[in-house]
């Protein structure tokens, strides 16, 4: 019960004094802290927001105190940025710790002040390639075995239980890799949108004589499966999932038809509130807002345990400044809306996990953009988050080894980039164990072989979850 007491304490806003007592955030990050998996509530859920294209982490949380961090001067000169103090992420004018991008800060102030946000800097892999596709795969699969294709969420859902036909849902134009599985027992749900997931032709589902067996039989879902033929099993089981998911999704669709929140999730120009950032009045923003609201609704109104959405446009090789400003505004608006809708809902504890495949170069190229870097900035938002900026030392005069280098003195793959300080797999393992209460053997299934790593270096858990 110790951990629960502590969390309750934090919820009441007492984390500031706790942080002061312990001194540095790094000291809070004790991966071996007592953790009782059995005490984890069974109603915990997660929303994974993937920022496709590689968000510029050092233009999101800016190591402004680093004398070599000219990136901050380049991109935020004239717009400031907001100083943040590490414990617990308070915003302190005059501090020299780090700055948060003002366009993100403007909307995330409430969750930050509530002590519900953790920024995880320098996340990545141990053999980074700076390739979008390889690093996305490594992150979404949490498995670097050659030929591996299965997503970690598909495996995670095996162990978290659900009373819903939709245990997990990817709401995106293309099914996110993290939800994919070729294992018939792990097939999850993909919808382009809740609104469009409807049988266009009801014949095979509704017209076949009200007999469930016959319904299944039409798509061969309960018959004609040759176990030796993987393709057949994959197709037929996916078809089964397609039909099973329809009722839950239809219910959410009906609910959203009368409960859509246009100001929080504007999905067309007429819904953008007066005074809101102009960046919201954009097709990409509308899509992101719709997907966020649908994902949030699936999590709160069904027993769906994990939802995933994408937000693209972060591959800012050219003319980054205005693009990134807009992206931060839209991202902040959306995250805050989901946070507000989920933070106080009984029996639903939603962790918002924001990930991206890598960071971007520290130096700006000659088209005013940034190229592919290494260390990524991830974020965790929720009531069981231990707030802070991780992998970014608290000493206001030094940003630790990650910052003092910033790639200036490095060669090879880390040149001109933030290096990897913590492996993506370590972050996922911590979510498995501390948010969902998985045991070490279960975590080893979600993140294959994780327990075989010594808990040091890039495999040392950050302790960003309580």
């Amino acid at each position: 019960m110790k951990s629960l007491d502590r969390r309750d304490l934090l919820r009441l806003g007492a984390f500031g004094s706790l942080g002061a007592m312990t001194g540095r955030l790094a000291a809070l990050c004790n991966p071996s802290a007592a953790f009782d998996a059995a005490a984890v509530p069974t109603y915990r859920k997660a929303l994974v927001v993937f920022l496709r294209g590689a968000n510029d982490g050092v233009n999101t949380i800016i190591p402004s105190g680093d004398a070599t961090a000219y990136r901050a001067q380049r991109f935020l000169a004239g717009t400031g940025g907001v100083w943040i103090d590490p414990a617990p992420l308070r915003f302190v004018p005059g501090s020299t710790y780090a700055k948060i991008n003002p366009f993100l800060h403007a909307r995330l102030l409430a969750p930050i002040n509530n002590g519900h946000v953790a920024f995880l800097h320098a996340m990545g892999t141990d053999n980074p390639s700076r390739s979008h596709f390889e690093e996305m795969d490594k992150l979404e699969q949490a498995d670097e075995t050659p030929g591996a294709k299965e997503g970690f969420v598909a495996r995670l859902l095996d162990h978290v239980g659900s009373s819903s036909a939709v245990r997990g849902v990817s709401i995106a134009s293309h099914m996110q890799r993290m939800f994919r599985s070729g294992d018939a027992g792990r097939i999850t749900t993909h919808v382009r949108s809740v609104a469009s997931y409807e049988f266009g032709a009801p014949v095979p589902y509704q017209r076949v004589r009200g007999n469930p067996t016959n319904n299944a039989g039409l798509w061969g879902c309960s018959a004609v499966v040759n176990p030796a033929d993987d393709i057949d099993v994959l197709i037929r089981t996916t078809a089964t999932r397609m039909m099973e998911a329809e009722a839950d999704i239809a219910n959410v669709r009906a609910w959203l038809a009368t409960n859509h929140q246009p100001a929080n999730y504007p999905t067309d120009a007429s819904q953008v509130p007066a005074g809101a950032p102009a960046a919201l009045n954009n097709g990409q923003s509308f899509k992101f807002m719709r997907e966020l609201e649908e994902a949030k609704s699936m999590l709160l109104r069904t027993d769906c345990r994990v939802a995933g959405v994408d937000f693209g446009g972060f591959d800012t090789h050219n003319g980054q400044l205005p693009q990134h400003e807009s992206l931060m505004q839209v991202l902040g608006w959306g995250l805050n809306s989901v946070y507000q809708d989920t933070v106080n809902v009984a029996n639903n504890e939603v962790l918002i996990l924001v990930v991206t495949e890598f960071g971007r170069t520290n130096a700006v190229n000659n088209s005013d953009g940034t190229d592919h870097g290494v260390g990524a900035l991830c974020m965790a938002i929720g009531v069981n988050v231990r707030p802070g900026v991780y992998n970014c030392a608290a000493n206001p005069n030094s940003f630790g080894e990650a910052w003092t280098t910033l790639g200036h003195n490095m060669t090879g793959i880390y040149e001109n980039a933030v290096p990897t300080k913590t492996h993506f797999q370590t972050m996922i393992a911590e979510v498995c164990q501390r948010h969902f209460g998985l045991t070490a053997p279960q975590t080893d299934i979600v993140v294959p072989g994780f327990s075989g790593h010594a808990p040091t270096g890039i495999y040392r858990q950050l302790g960003f979850l309580l």
Binding site: G200, V203, P204, G217, I235, R236, A245, H317, N366, S367
Partner: protein, 539 residues
């Protein structure tokens, strides 16, 4: 005919995988045609099933004659000059559905995915430069035309069409690539996706970050003309007009360059320094593209991708790969020779990989149209098909990231994809109530009822158009040759033989439309069901 009667009758007739009666369609011909086209038509499959038919089919596909059939030609001509994205997409659908040159179309779309560009991003750049929507469409259209022209030609021509084309220039920020810190966007994807790949098959890194920087330098200055350009402008065309490709001499890095000098598996390429501010700087791009087109790493990467595309995701065929790489040659990559080797190989022609790949959305939707003999009167009639493939995630010219829509079967499944497929299958179910909701706009017309009457005599010898089992068998064999079994047959026959209340339903061609006894309506419904079966996703 009751269910038990059907089952008993089917049990006496059907053995899984074997034709019940009638003319045998050759499963091998089915395999070869399925993999090298957007799906079989009945006449093509019947011809390929004749002795020597497969070889003749492949010979024709690998060496497409000039021109096309009258249907495809008329539909393409009706599009005129393409000025909208809709028209450009319709062109792809028309040729996929109706062109005789199926392998060329399959390869055109393969290269479109390999050298993927995104129209939305291109449009954004074009408009920012003062261009128009038709300008942006022209960027995509010219690349598409070149991919089609060189689909069975040389890889070097494809690589130049992509790398020096306006579409890629706008999509991956080449237009903004200038010294002293070039933009690496294009260079990275050129190496990783278009040519050598991230790692070789021995899992060695093919290149380092330094190589990306060097390649970006080779392409520095290759941009798009617009009125605000500064400095010394050396143009590719003699007189630049809006949004032509140009070489901006001031932006180019004229120093010597070294690629692959890090001791990796690819031999080093030295590019000599050029005189400052001279047109000779353009040569760097051509030099490096020629080198890449002939590099063993490129041969390996592309040949392996082709083998996996035609055989299967997990096809690991080192001998065949070596043979294909030999066919590639050293003169830019002879793709016709590579495909000839691949498609005539025992690995491709054998049974190991048959019916083990999944169709992508375009292949699924077009495959249904072709197998059921669909026709259209105008290219816009295929809008419903294009809407479906877009909904299924395959938005032609709209895929967002440079890796292009995936070829991997693993990526072709999903609840949303199958949901959309049921919607598309509805397009062939033409009737209104009581069988379906109002049909799609812009439907493909099918002539199935007539075909059933005459076709059963061809495919189900001794069959009857009023026997539900024979009608069902006709559809299954027409669509899937031997890839169905007695359970499929019963499912289909029941749909024809019974009302929704389970009452017996006779097949009577003369029954009135709209009633439960509507023969034509039930045939349409059966076509829908057959197009919704899991087999429809396999190739």
């Amino acid at each position: 005919m009751t269910l038990s009667t059907l089952r008993a009758a089917a049990a006496t007739l059907a053995v899984a995988g074997a034709p019940i009666c009638g003319q045998a369609l050759d499963p091998q011909a089915f395999h070869v045609v399925s993999r090298t086209s957007f799906g079989h038509t009945l006449p093509i499959l019947q011809a390929a099933s004749q002795p020597g038919g497969i070889a003749a089919y492949l010979q024709a596909q690998l060496n497409p004659a000039a021109g096309d059939n009258a249907t495809a030609t008329a539909l393409v001509n009706s599009l005129g000059t393409i000025t909208t994205l809709d028209e450009l997409q319709q062109l792809q659908a028309v040729l996929a559905c109706f062109s005789d040159h199926q392998l060329r179309e399959v390869m055109t779309q393969f290269w479109e995915r390999h050298f993927n560009t995104n129209f939305g991003r291109i449009r954004q750049v074009v408009l920012a430069f003062g261009g128009t929507d038709p300008d942006a469409v022209a960027f995509e259209a010219e690349s598409n035309a070149l991919f089609r022209q060189h689909a069975l030609g040389t890889f070097y021509d494809l690589l130049v069409a992509s790398s020096l084309g306006r579409a890629m220039n706008a999509y991956l920020n080449l237009f903004a690539n200038k010294i002293p810190i070039p933009n690496e966007d294009f260079a990275r994807e050129c190496l990783e996706l278009h040519t050598v790949g991230l790692k070789n098959l021995a899992n060695q890194d093919n290149y380092t970050h330094n190589d990306i920087e060097a390649l970006a330098s080779c392409f520095s200055g290759v941009s798009l003309w617009r009125s605000s350009l500064p400095g010394n402008l050396i143009t590719f065309p003699a007189s630049p007009t809006a949004l032509q490709r140009v070489f901006i001499a001031d932006w180019h890095d004229y120093n010597s360059k070294v690629l692959f000098g890090g001791g990796g598996p690819i031999p080093q390429l030295m590019i000599a320094a050029q005189p400052q501010n001279s047109a000779l700087g353009q040569r760097d791009a051509y030099t490096v593209l020629w080198f890449l087109a002939n590099a063993d790493a490129t041969k390996e990467f592309v040949c392996d991708k082709l083998i996996r595309f035609f055989l299967g995701d997990d096809a690991n065929e080192p001998t065949l790969r070596t043979q294909c790489m030999a066919s590639w040659g050293s003169n830019g990559g002879d793709l016709r020779a590579v495909l000839t080797t691949l498609l005539n190989s025992s690995q491709f022609q054998g049974t190991t990989y048959r019916r083990k790949r999944l169709r992508n959305p375009m292949e699924y939707a077009v495959g249904v149209v072709r197998a059921l003999g669909g026709t259209v009167s105008a290219p816009s009639d295929l809008d419903a098909l294009l809407d479906t493939t877009t909904n299924m995630g395959m938005d032609l010219f709209g895929y967002p990231s440079p890796d292009g829509f995936p070829n991997d079967s693993y990526e072709q499944t999903g609840t949303q994809i199958y949901m959309d497929a049921t919607g598309f299958a509805k397009a062939i179910h033409r009737r209104g109530p009581p069988y379906a909701n109002p049909p799609y706009q812009g439907t493909v017309a099918f002539t199935l009822p007539t075909d059933v009457a005459t076709g059963i005599g061809t495919l189900v010898t001794g069959g009857s158009a009023t026997n539900p089992l024979h009608v069902a068998e006709y559809f299954l064999r027409r669509m899937y040759v031997d890839d169905w079994n007695s359970t499929d047959l019963i499912k289909c026959a029941r749909l024809v033989a019974q009302t929704e209340n389970g009452l017996n339903q006779g097949l009577n061609v003369g029954n009135p439309p709209g009633s439960n006894q509507d023969y034509q309506g039930r045939i349409d419904l059966l076509a829908f069901l057959v197009a919704s079966l899991p087999q429809a996703f396999k190739k």
